[in-house]
Every structure is written in structure tokens, then in C-alpha cells.
């Protein structure tokens, strides 16, 4: 069956911008720069690589090899937005452009080769046009099928028709971008695509499953497209009229999420997964915008609902922040219609829910969690669902940032620093958002006060919180002065804090400020 498949692989052009996240962030090829994701190097510039920086390194290791390394924040939306002009200039030369990820596009090459009278003239034209119009360097590859073309682009190479298998054979098994499968195969002594391709396909299928069998086809240089992919029936498309029209990307985020959810539900109901999606929009003045995104280039699994939402958001961001302008002069107003069309679908062989409801697999349920949270965001608005990031700061409220679900949980530079004056751990389990009024009296009933010099008028004896009965104080410590923002008269506050334990066994964090006692938190 291999022979038939290889005949079907179409001549494909891949356009790759090396180290794109760094370039998109404003870095240059000849300056050491890196983008970190989850504390590890995700992309680095050529100059950084010369100094020994590698993908996957920890920040500290990278910086010790290359002290002048500039670290940029990770922002996939930015990568996609800055990439949009590149996609546009390629699209003007070759129709049918698909974005694999920001930094990599593939296009069917047959028509364009004929039009520009040869493969070399096409490559020359694309390379010159993209660098003239956008100023970015690109590396091109031409081969049969998009997997081989992508690998060819990494090597800046033209693979002759029918020679994809020979070209791929010496490449390491990791080129398949399936880390789990690669680890397993390496342990079995299968280190190159050629070794893998030499295994009988039926055995690969039986031992490793359909996705590995598909990877096996790729290693052979066969069609880089799930064999079962087919055009989606048109009624799977989802559409939303946008009223008022969307002009800013922050409003687009929520629409993207809702629509992605709808589309995903529709696909799931039919047991389908989407491997290529077309995002279409219409502006107020009737311009039609459309762009295709391909799922990770080479996978049978299909887009998850959050992956569809991300692509949609990135694309809208690209259009709204300049894409519309570059083709049609001035931006012509907002988007009035957004449509998601699954271009290619494949039977969903992914995770199925078990017969008895949830499958107890813990963290594997992320997809379900995301859908539940999207529903809650639909009820209450996107900002109502948050997770906390604990960072730097001396006041309890300052230490915690609540990040809306779906936004990046970034830590700020101060988070790792020591904060003098911070309360010792354990931290209070209940932090009151609105502090409660309290009265603290000495054993003789006189009010306890703290003066400017932090002298306490008498040892605290009793605590009364709001209108509750007073309780005896059995232990106390303080005052711990907290003088925040002393450089700013309007925001400056002086407070003296106390930890107190009472006869009923409870622990309290009290503050004395401007002549009044407050309960800030309970150690309950």
C-alpha cells in the first residue's frame, strides 16, 4: 500500500522563519536572545546557540553559558500576530497557504511551480518577496508532503520528487515530534527515521497503535496528512454575528472561546476531530478575511477546543492589529461576522469517556475541565473564574494576584525576592477581603493603643470582634510595623500588626491603624 500513498503526496513548499518566537519578540539573529516557557528555553537566537544555549535548558544554565542573553517573555499571541504579514506575502504568491504554527507555513506548490516556470524560480521569488515585504529571513524547503517539506525547510533543501524517503532516513527519530514514541523507540535502538521506516508497518500498528503507524508513514515520506482525513460536511461550520462589531482583541478572546466550544461540541457529537480549520471573518464594509490553520503539522489527534480558541484568537489579533490595514489601506472598521469551518476532519480515535461517566484519570481530564470552566465563564463573564498566583509583597492582599482563567499565569520579577516584614509561615487560611472591626482591651478594661514609636500602651488582654462576646487573649506578638508606600503621601499607610491567640484556641492577625483595630485574617 506504500506505493499508492507515496503517489498521493503532493509537492509542498514549506516556509520557515528560524527561531521565530525570539524574532517576533524583537530579538535579532546576531544577538543572543531566548524565549522561556515554563522556566525552560523554548526558542533561542542563532547567536545564543553559538554560545551553547539549547532548547530545554533551564534559565540559569542558559545564562551561565551566555551571560549577555536577553530573555523575552513567552507570548504565542504575539508570535502569531507578528507572523501575519509573512503569511500574507506568501499567500500573494501561492494559494492554499496553511499555518502550521507561528513561524512555519506550508503551501501546495504544484500550481505555483508551473506559474513561475520551475522550482528554483519559485523559491527565489518567495524568498525575495518575503524578505522585501516583511524584512524577516526565511528558510525554504520543497518536498513531497508537508512533513518532508518542513524537514527540508529546516535544512534549506529541495528534495527531488519521489526522494523524500531517502532524504528523511538519516534524520533522528525526534523529528517526528512525538516525544513519548521517540523515547520508547530510542530505548529499543531505533534512532533514525530510516530505522523506523524499515520496521514492518503491520507490526508498528499492532504494537504502537494508529498514531505510530501514521508516524511510520511519515518516516517513509508518504503523504503527510492523516490518511482518513476528508472534507468536512458544510453544516459543521459555526458562525456568530458580532454586534457590536469587534475592533479590539480583548473582546475577541471571549467570542473565540465560545465559538470554539460550539464547534468542538458539534464535532464530538459526530465522533470527529478537526485537523485543519479555516477561520473566516467579514468586516463592516464587507471585506472577507480567511485563513487556514493546520493541526501541529502531523497528528491524527485533531484540535482540542482550547487549541481552536487559541488559533482563532491569534488570527483575530493578527487581523485587528494591522492585517486588515496592509491589504486595504486604512482599517475599515470592526469584524461583524466570525465563522469557523473545519476544513478537514478525521474520525476521533482519541480519548473517549468511559462508560461510567468520568474516567478517574485525574489530570487527563483537562479537556473536560476547560469546557466546564468555559460554561461558568459563559454564565458570569470571563473575569469571574480565576486562579491565584502567589508572589512578592508584604501585605496579604499584595502577595496574591488573581488571574482570569485562560490568561497566562505570569510571575513578576519581585516574586522570588525576599520581602522583609512579611509574615512568617504558616500563612492565615482565611484572609478577609473586608477587614472586620475589633476592640482590644487590656486586662483592666482600658483600650490598648500603639503610638508613633510603636510602644504598646498595655498588654492585650481581651479581643472583641464586631459584636461578639470578648475572648481572653492567651498569647500575642507584635507590633510588627508595616509602613507601605512611604514615598507616596496619598497611598502611604502605617500599620502595626499583631498575631494573637485566644482562649478558645483561635489565631488572629490584627492590625492597629489610625487609632482603630482591625482583623485582617484568621488562622482557622
Amino acid at each position: 500500500m506504500g506505493g499508492n500513498l507515496s503517489n498521493r503526496a503532493v509537492r509542498t513548499l514549506a516556509i520557515w522563519c528560524p527561531d521565530w518566537p525570539v524574532i517576533a519578540a524583537g530579538g535579532a539573529v546576531d544577538q543572543p536572545g531566548a524565549v522561556l516557557r515554563a522556566g525552560r528555553v523554548f526558542a533561542c537566537s542563532a547567536a545564543a546557540r553559538l554560545d551553547g544555549v539549547r532548547r530545554g535548558q533551564r534559565r540559569r544554565d542558559a545564562q551561565s553559558r551566555c551571560p549577555e542573553l536577553v530573555v523575552y517573555p513567552d507570548d504565542p499571541a504575539r508570535d502569531a500576530r507578528v507572523f501575519e504579514p509573512v503569511v500574507e506575502s506568501v499567500e500573494a504568491l501561492a494559494p492554499g497557504v496553511e499555518i502550521v504554527r507561528p513561524g512555519l507555513v506550508v503551501a501546495a506548490a504544484r500550481g505555483a511551480i508551473r506559474y513561475y516556470k520551475g522550482e528554483l524560480p519559485l523559491l527565489a521569488k518567495v524568498s525575495a518577496t518575503v524578505s522585501d515585504e516583511t524584512g524577516y529571513d526565511v528558510q525554504l524547503g520543497l518536498a513531497d508532503g508537508s512533513f518532508a517539506a518542513t524537514q527540508a525547510a529546516y535544512a534549506a533543501h529541495i528534495v527531488q520528487p519521489g526522494e523524500s524517503a531517502e532524504f528523511l532516513a538519516p534524520l533522528p527519530i525526534r523529528a517526528l515530534d512525538r516525544p513519548d514514541l521517540a523515547d520508547l523507540l530510542i530505548r529499543l535502538g531505533v534512532r533514525t527515521l530510516g530505522d523506523f521506516a524499515a520496521l514492518p508497518r503491520a507490526d508498528v500498528l499492532a504494537r504502537f497503535g494508529p498514531d505510530a503507524a501514521y508516524a511510520h508513514d511519515l518516516a517513509h515520506g508518504f503523504e503527510a496528512r492523516p490518511p482518513s482525513a476528508r472534507k468536512a460536511p458544510p453544516d459543521l461550520a459555526v458562525e456568530m454575528a458580532l454586534d457590536p462589531p469587534i475592533e479590539r482583541v480583548d473582546t475577541a478572546t471571549f467570542v473565540a472561546k465560545t465559538l470554539a466550544e460550539q464547534l468542538h461540541d458539534r464535532l464530538v457529537a459526530r465522533g470527529l476531530a478537526c485537523v485543519r480549520i479555516s477561520i473566516e471573518a467579514r468586516t463592516e464594509s464587507g471585506e472577507q478575511l480567511a485563513r487556514s490553520w493546520r493541526h501541529g503539522g502531523v497528528s491524527t489527534a485533531g484540535f482540542s477546543s482550547s487549541a481552536i480558541a487559541d488559533r482563532t484568537r491569534w488570527q483575530l489579533d493578527g487581523w485587528l492589529s494591522g492585517g486588515i490595514r496592509s491589504h486595504h489601506g486604512r482599517p475599515t472598521g470592526g469584524l461583524v461576522v466570525l465563522r469557523l469551518l473545519p476544513d478537514e476532519v478525521t474520525p476521533d480515535v482519541g480519548r473517549q469517556l468511559s462508560l461510567w461517566g468520568s474516567d478517574f484519570s485525574g489530570i487527563g481530564d483537562i479537556e473536560q475541565v476547560e469546557r466546564a470552566l468555559a460554561r461558568v465563564q459563559g454564565l458570569l463573564g470571563p473575569d469571574a473564574v480565576v486562579t491565584a498566583v502567589v508572589g512578592g509583597g508584604r501585605e496579604l492582599a499584595e502577595q496574591v494576584r488573581l488571574v482570569p482563567w485562560g490568561e497566562p499565569r505570569e510571575t513578576s520579577p519581585g516574586d522570588a525576592c525576599p520581602w522583609p516584614g512579611r509574615l512568617p509561615s504558616p500563612s492565615p487560611a482565611t484572609v478577609l477581603t473586608a477587614p472586620r472591626a475589633a476592640v482590644v482591651t487590656a486586662v483592666d478594661g482600658s483600650p490598648v493603643e500603639v503610638d508613633e514609636r510603636l510602644a504598646v500602651s498595655a498588654a492585650p488582654g481581651f479581643l472583641r470582634v464586631e459584636s461578639r462576646a470578648p475572648v481572653e487573649i492567651v498569647g500575642w506578638a507584635g507590633p510588627w510595623p508595616l509602613h507601605v508606600r512611604w514615598w507616596d503621601d496619598a497611598a502611604a499607610r502605617k500599620r502595626a500588626r499583631f498575631q494573637v491567640s485566644t482562649a478558645d484556641g483561635a489565631g488572629w492577625l490584627l492590625a492597629f491603624e489610625a487609632g482603630r483595630w482591625l482583623v485582617e485574617a484568621c488562622y482557622d
Partner: protein
Amino acid sequence: MLHAAALPPDLLERVGVTTFTSSDDAGSSALLPVPEALAGLFPEGGLRRGWTITTSGSSSLILALLGAVSKRPGWCAEVGSPLLGSAAAAEAGVALDRFVRVAEPGEQWASVTASLLEAIDLVVVHPPARAGVGDMRRLTARARERSAVLLVTGDCAGKWEGAMVNLRVTAQQWHGLGDGHGYLKAREVQVQALGRGAAARPRTTNVWLPGAGGVVSPARESAA
């Protein structure tokens, strides 16, 4: 052989040993793990999925339960306020990126809780004081259906319909504070579990909550 409980908890953490009673083998997947020191409160040594439990008066107790589920690794959520302290949550071992909060659900609190029970292992809810019996029954049924655990806290915890176990702190004492010096270091508490069915016999246990380093550890019987 070393006994796990004899080692300092942060060491166990560093070497990757988890101190849960219920091992995570396939047979016990119907139970959510609880910290070892609290396992004695539950007839099966863990939280049975589908249960609704109530608790009042101790946020640290809730955080200790969340911490064990979080390490599983599972998902936790909280609906309503006052919010549990985030710094304390992190100290109790809760993975904050898998702990979702909805502070102000307003009138929608029941729908929000029901949605979260669809996918999240342990959902903490602070219902409004006027919560109706219909909502209580519906949510209890939803938790059972979705094999999640619903943990009700706040003022209406006492009258919640269909709760399997009620956890409460019956005695507590903080250590570390003197007369004008020291700081709150650790607390000994006595926790009582009282429930229906298999959990009908009251069970009590003495624990450090939080103990040294923010984790929960067993305490002597005579304490508190």
C-alpha cells in the same frame, strides 16, 4: 525499613514520596486521597467519590483536603467567598494552577457549582445563607452522578440535605506565641467526623494543622 511518618515531610517531598494512605492503584480510584493524618476520620481511609461532606469553622482543614487531591494530581475549585487564603493553600500543597476560584457567583451559585462538578474532583462551595433545599438536593445528586466530591462550608453547612459526613474542629490550640514575642508556629486540633451509614460512628483524630512547614501531621492523643 524506614517508616514514612518518621521522616520530616519536606524531605519526603524532595525525594518524591507521597504520604497518602490510599495507594493510587486501580482498585482505589473510587476514593480521593486524604492526608495520612486525617485518614482515620473516614471509614474507607479516603473521600468516596460522589460524596457530599460538610465542614465549618476551619479553613486549614479544607486546605489540607484540597492539598491531597491536588497532589494526586487532581483539580479543585471553590465557589463563593470568603476565599481560602492562597498563600496558605500553596503551603498546604495545593497546586494553584489547578485550583479554580469563582468568588462572586451571586444568584448563579448553584448553576456554577453544578457545572464545576461535571469535571472537577473536589468542589468547595460557600452557599448563601438562603440556599434552598431544592438546590441542596440537586447539587448532592449531581456530585453523586459525576463521581465528584462536594464540600459544603459556611453557615448552611449544618442544615445541608444529603451530606454523608460532617467534619468539625472540636478543640484547638495554637503554639508559638508568648507574651509579646514569638509567632504562630503550629496548631494542634482535634477533628471530629460524624456521618451517616458507614460513617455513623463518630471518629476523632488529633493532628497538627498546620504543623511545621504547613503540612498536616499526626499529634498525640492526649493533646488539645
